[in-house]
Symmetry: C2
């Protein structure tokens, strides 16, 4: 029976959507126990009697706020994030899920749970939608300054995750660059190209649009560029939505059209909705850590828990350790 | 009377859309002469008699192909790009427009026309649509590895362009980063933040989505990130379009909806269509250089010519020189 530690106080909307997500996950999957870490008096009223045997509450007083510094996380030993991570460190839980301060989760996971042998830096990965599926991109925020070897490790970790957790047989890797040719890239990415070139199923450089074309299964970049890319993608999708809405208001014919198209828009929303994917795994730490969006609704939390379970059920971390050893220069 | 030198052979579709764009521009603006550089026997049949006094043809045999190396451009002295740039260098033309090999245009412009005093590196700028207008982003491809001082110069050049050519009174500048806080950024961007901080109307760090929110008028980044950001934006817009189309095919009701919404889609296309903006100016060289998209249609070429004219009519380059001097450390 897996035990999933959930930071029940993190997230922009407080514990309600988080507990709702936990309940939805418990209903669908009978093979795990949820450990909710948070303020007991706030959490108890949210839990129906019939779930009481599958939910354990770990009481704590403190919550790391979105405005707090990630560096304070290590000192705030009574916070929900710290305590939930501690349960994983102490092997009282198998995985960690949080929609709270992502920097705090990253620091705590990296420093308290620790890195897999051979991993210089854990990376945050995210799935981005393509017409027919999704592309895994890493790093999207954990490491702003990366060297070529970091990028090579991300390639190995991302490929292992795509294989072991996403069930892709021979995941193709691409290195994010400003052109497809081998000669393209900045100093670090050109150096990384040479290192990643030895890995199986490396297709070479890919461009920003390739992420959404489904050219490859895994795209590697540093966390500075990954964050900018992600926010750009969100910005474009939002702006297109706003322009459509803005113009709709001006005409009854268009509104009728939009009503008739609502199924299409619903499918579109499904494709670009992060709630479908759950959260972003922090790959490279010794236990599954899923960092959900601060604005996660119950569905996003439910899917984040399923991600944590899928990772815990896989041999991902063992494979990462082996591959890093195998492809060490 | 301004003279605009146009690389008539560049572009993915040969000289036809380019000449059509030139004719459209000549019809609308009576105060310039077009110098078409290219193969005379291919160009002549495309030009109606009534335009013959406003078009000069400079014959040449060679065309730099999209597959050629940019570094060869300097040796190919009989190419349309080289000759058109030479006309500007020799002051026989006031500005240069090309939809050909952008790397070749950049190298030729930088090395043959030369940089404005104080400019370390020219930058390519592009306009990206927001709900209510557009944001100027630079660099989007000329310089893959930039130091903090390069980024500071881009800020000064972009702000001057927004003021002098785009007619924005007090253009706000933002530095592209992985978060708004001053503490966010990679090594280079944090260093650049300090340098740009002294410029008027600098709002600090901005994120990828801010480009499309219209938070600022000018966004500064290096050319590696700028290219990835641009391709990401194109990729997301394309993918959303494809998902809508894919799902439309499956239902008559949705198709009816789409027909009723066609005005909205048309407006959307207008907003995201690069042809509306013309081309990307190479800012920092001693004469206006407009690099149009390889897939430019006649409208894009027409607008690129108007951009060149607007720049030539402004005091942009003088202002850039003055501002660089004023804000030199």
């Amino acid at each position: 029976m897996l035990k999933i530690a959930i930071d029940a106080m993190g997230g922009d909307f407080g514990p309600t959507p988080i507990v709702e997500g936990v309940l939805a996950a418990l209903k669908k999957d009978r093979h795990f126990t949820a450990i909710l870490v948070g303020k007991k008096d706030e959490l108890l009223p949210l839990i129906p009697q019939k779930f009481s045997d599958r939910i354990i509450i770990h009481d704590c007083d403190d919550v790391i706020d979105m405005h707090d510094h990630a560096t304070d996380a290590l000192k705030r030993k009574d916070s929900s994030a710290y305590k939930a991570i501690q349960l994983v460190k102490d092997k009282e839980a198998d995985a960690y899920v949080s929609a709270g301060h992502s920097g705090a989760s990253m620091s705590l996971a990296t420093l308290r749970i620790g890195r897999i042998k051979g991993v210089s830096r854990p990376a945050i990965a995210t799935l981005l939608p393509t017409v027919n599926g999704a592309t895994l991109v890493l790093d999207v925020g954990a490491n702003v300054d990366c060297d070529a070897n970091n990028l090579k490790e991300f390639a190995i970790m991302g490929q292992a995750y795509a294989h072991d957790v996403l069930d892709i047989d021979n995941p193709l890797i691409g290195l994010l660059s400003n052109g497809e040719e081998e000669s393209k890239g900045n100093e670090v990415s050109k150096e990384a190209f040479k290192l990643i070139n030895g890995l199986p199923n490396f297709v070479g450089n890919v461009e920003g649009n390739d992420i959404f074309n489904g050219t490859v299964d895994v795209v590697v970049c540093d966390g500075f560029i990954g964050n900018i890319m992600l926010k750009t993608a969100e910005g474009v999708a939002d702006t297109i939505g706003k322009i459509i809405k803005d113009n709709l208001r001006r005409s009854l014919i268009s509104i009728t059209g939009a009503v008739l198209m609502r199924k299409v828009f619903k499918k579109l929303k499904l494709k670009v909705d992060y709630a479908e994917y759950g959260g972003a795994p922090l790959i490279g730490v010794k236990a599954p850590v899923i960092i959900a969006h601060g604005k996660s609704n119950a569905k996003a939390i439910k899917n984040a828990i399923f991600q944590a379970i899928a990772t815990a059920d896989s041999n991902l971390n063992l494979h990462i350790e082996e591959k890093l050893k195998q492809f060490k220069d």
